[in-house]
């Protein structure tokens, strides 16, 4: 507490803030309606088809509008389409585009722009890493693999403002799937003229509430209000700047110093102090996500279900979330995150039981003379480090000797996909759709089923669920699949991540939600008093 507390006592944040405000008045001119957001890292691209990161998605969602979109509370609402119909067999979706949709250069947004975009996304030459998001569409997977021409994908413009999409099999969550940048329209007239350079500031035309004004790599991305946006009259911000705040301490320091208006992460040790001193800035809520451990079931020792069960039983989730992480993470014994709507998992919570765990290990042939030695891999980062050190300590209590190995995100997942691991951290984010998570346990999913788990019963139930048109029947089958899969412990679900945000009280229209989406078109900044 020493220095920091002392300084805080002498210079409360209000005073610091006032002095900053004074400096702003005296010095540099900052536009009152510009919002400064700490966006957690540097975007690697702003091409909706080449993006890969959530932080890129956030900027893209302010630049473009897909057929469906998020509202201020993260609910899915009509976007570039005003309405849509679905055929009785759930396969044919027909979207009606809004008549007043315009690109930022004034050109109308047409069904052709969507057809063009979907074809470009699925063209193998584009090398879109998230192209599989659209594999629900008939012909999409084949076209992306180069098997059929992209013109044969079942997407067509019925007229300038009506789009028809035919799916390969029923997919009731398709409207939700369309909110990703992989479903955005592209300004055909610009991309055809400029090629890959169309994404540069000055070239890009977008159909969302904002347009790309400036991009200083590792410095900031600046977007400005799009005068041609159909609801431009309701957009109160003139501009937004996204800062690549990869280091959450630096982000926190800059927020505390009044240099940022919103940050999405900060050191968790600060929560108590923030609760006391800046309660009107602090927002904590669970994110739609699951963090878990995955076992490589193809090799010893984790080809033995008893060993997997033993390690799962040794982990006390409440200890991890309550004592180690300490910022209201939601412990989750289920693989589908607890806040997924309409889905009540049938997996029963089992309390940590070191005795039973030790017994199972002994049965599998491990004891003090012949201890189980394993390597646990995790992604570099302060919270990850704490969690996995704690897990290693829990395993030590049942006689397991754990070596830890950390690597950067990309290297980590490359190793996982190649099966070059024993047990490792993994996480899955994003959708309000249990299938999105449970697919990871299917043997046909490919390399995101990192542990190569294959169970006939789980596969069978999942396949049946995917063919079910009626939602309740589908969910019931998914529940059974989850129980069947988890009974073999291919993964150990741990917890749902917490969204920790600091939002300046001057910012209006910001509502916490489990998807953690906050479209800038609904945000505003009150002038400083």
């Amino acid at each position: 507490m020493l220095v920091a507390e002392l300084l805080r006592a002498i210079y409360p944040p209000a005073a610091a803030r006032a002095s900053v405000a004074l400096l702003l008045v005296l010095g540099s001119a900052v536009n009152a309606a510009e919002l400064r957001i700490g966006n957690g890292g540097e975007p690697l691209t702003l091409d909706p088809h080449r993006y890969n990161l959530n932080l890129e998605e956030k900027i893209l969602a302010d630049l473009f509008e897909g057929l469906t979109a998020h509202d201020a509370h993260g609910r899915i609402v009509p976007g570039a389409a005003t309405s849509w119909t679905t055929s009785a067999d759930g396969l044919v979706w027909t979207f009606k585009l809004r008549p007043d949709g315009r690109w930022s250069d004034g050109q109308p947004v047409t069904a052709d722009d969507f057809v063009f975009a979907f074809r470009r996304l699925l063209d193998p030459k584009t090398a879109a890493s998230l192209a599989f998001f659209m594999y629900a569409i008939e012909g999409a997977a084949a076209a992306n693999a180069g098997g059929i021409p992209v013109e044969d994908i079942a997407v067509r413009a019925l007229d300038s403002h009506r789009l028809e999409v035919r799916l390969a099999r029923p997919f009731p969550f398709f409207a939700e799937r369309l909110i990703y940048p992989t479903g955005f329209p592209l300004p055909k007239h610009v991309v055809e003229r400029l090629g890959d350079d169309w994404v540069k500031p000055g070239n890009m035309a977008s159909n969302g509430a904002f347009t790309l004004a400036d991009w200083q790599p590792q410095g900031f991305v600046r977007v400005e209000k799009n005068a041609h946006f159909h609801a431009a009259g309701d957009v109160s911000l003139d501009a937004v700047r996204y800062f690549p705040t990869a280091d959450r301490n630096a982000a926190y320091n800059r927020y505390r110093n009044g240099e940022l208006d919103i940050i999405g992460d900060f050191p968790p040790g600060e929560i108590d102090w923030l609760r006391r001193e800046m309660p009107d800035h602090l927002h904590i809520s669970p994110l739609l996500s699951i963090m878990y451990l995955v076992f490589n079931v193809t090799e010893p020792p984790f080809d033995d279900a008893r060993v997997r069960r033993a390690l799962a039983l040794a982990i006390d989730r409440e200890l991890i979330t309550g004592r180690v992480l300490q910022s209201a993470e939601v412990p989750s014994p289920t693989f589908v995150p607890p806040m997924v709507a309409d889905y009540r998992s049938a997996v029963a919570a089992v309390a940590a039981d070191t005795e039973q765990a030790a017994k199972l290990l002994a049965e599998a042939g491990y004891d003090e003379a012949n201890p189980l030695r394993i390597t646990l891999r995790y992604i570099a980062g302060a919270d990850n480090k704490k969690v996995h050190v704690a897990i290693a300590a829990m395993w030590r209590a049942i006689g397991v000797q754990t070596s830890l190995h950390h690597a950067e995100l990309n290297a980590h997942f490359a190793e996982l996909r190649q099966g070059a691991f024993q047990v490792a951290q993994a996480g899955w984010f994003g959708e309000n759709n249990p299938e999105h998570y449970l697919e990871l346990l299917m043997s046909t999913t490919g390399d995101v089923n990192y542990g190569r788990f294959a169970d006939v019963e789980t596969d069978e139930l999942m396949t049946q669920a995917k063919d079910a048109v009626e939602l309740d029947a589908r969910l019931a089958l998914l529940r059974q699949a989850e129980v069947a899969g988890l009974s073999l412990d291919p993964v150990v679900p741990l917890y749902a991540v917490t969204i920790r945000s600091l939002v300046d009280p001057r910012v209006t229209g910001w509502h916490p939600n489990p998807r953690n989406v906050h479209p800038a078109r609904y945000l505003g900044v009150r002038a400083a008093p």
């Binding site: 890969n52 090398a127 890493s129 192209a131 693999a145 994404v199 590792q218």
Partner: protein
């Protein structure tokens, strides 16, 4: 003198070539590839990407092509920052790094030489002891300790300076101080030694005995010779400053070369890593050449060689 510099220049170019070669092959010998991501790309897609970046050809072919591009001043496309070329990235990062590094070095020289001279003129008195101890302590305070403390006290605590970014001149104050501290200390020790040595030379003693004021003696007779070791340390100091500048750019979220280099290395962005190393090496070598030039002007033995 002309020949001396020419030889130096040739040597610098050979060194640069060696650096390019080592970095190029090191980056490609490493396990893993630049397209590793959270999800694996379909084989066709990865093949397309490899072809687009020329990675499907033999390494020797890639190397020859890279050298050809280098000859035209083109560092290639970035593998990770898909919307930018390495030239564009370095073009934006370089001014920031050079500003921070240059200011830090200048501050270190000014503070160091002043403090060193001040100490030497009062050899073994309290002022000297204090400065020497302070300098030794300064050497023991690397940026990884000083930078976070400066942020805690002067940015978050007092709110005098920004905690990051590069929007205003004030943004540069804390990073420059944190980066320059150990070098200011090193220059203090160095110049104290050399000033003291020159002060003991006969012509200086004569000037002293004639009653010339100390500051004039120092200015006229001492500093020109005493600065030689300081100048010759500038080159190595500039090279050493790099490591510190990476830490500083990380702490203060500055989009400089150091950040591109570290991120590029961690993400196997071959072209970005090779590009930043080349620019860094070229900078340091140029700086060494300039230091050599100053050195040659100051030291008569080299001037006539």
């Amino acid at each position: 003198m002309g020949r001396y510099l020419l030889r130096r220049l040739a040597f610098a170019l050979i060194t640069l070539f060696a650096v390019v070669t080592v970095t190029f092959f090191l980056a490609r010998a490493a396990p893993g590839g630049p397209f590793d991501g959270e999800r694996r790309l379909p084989p066709e897609v990865e093949a397309n990407l490899r072809a687009a970046y020329d990675l499907d050809k033999p390494v020797v072919h890639q190397y020859a092509r890279y050298l050809g591009m280098l000859g035209r001043g083109d560092l290639g496309p970035s593998f990770r920052h898909k919307d930018f070329s390495v030239n564009e990235l370095i073009g934006r990062g370089l001014p920031i790094s050079v500003t921070i590094g240059g200011l830090a070095l200048a501050l270190a020289v000014v503070v160091g030489v002043t403090a060193g001279t001040f100490a030497a003129t009062a050899r073994d008195r309290a002022r000297d002891r204090l400065l020497v101890t302070a300098a030794t302590l300064g050497l023991a305070l690397p940026p990884i300790i000083v930078a976070p403390l400066l942020v805690l006290v002067f940015a978050v605590g007092l709110g005098w300076f920004p905690a990051g970014g590069y929007d205003t001149a004030r943004s540069y104050v804390l990073p420059v101080i944190a980066l320059s501290l150990p070098y200011a200390a090193a220059f203090t020790r160095l110049s104290r030694g050399s000033v003291a040595e020159v002060l003991g030379r006969p012509h200086v003693l004569t000037a002293r005995s004639k009653g010339m004021p100390t500051w004039r003696i120092v200015h006229r007779h001492v500093l020109p010779s005493a600065l030689i070791p300081v100048v010759s340390f500038l080159g190595p100091a500039a090279a050493a400053l790099l490591a510190g500048s990476m830490v500083i750019e990380e702490v203060f979220s500055l989009p400089g070369l150091g950040r591109y280099f570290v991120q590029g290395a961690l993400n196997r962005d071959y072209t970005l890593v090779t590009g930043t190393v080349i620019v860094y090496a070229a900078l340091v070598l140029t700086f060494n050449l300039l230091a050599d030039l100053c050195y040659a002007r100051l030291d008569p033995r080299i001037r006539h060689a």
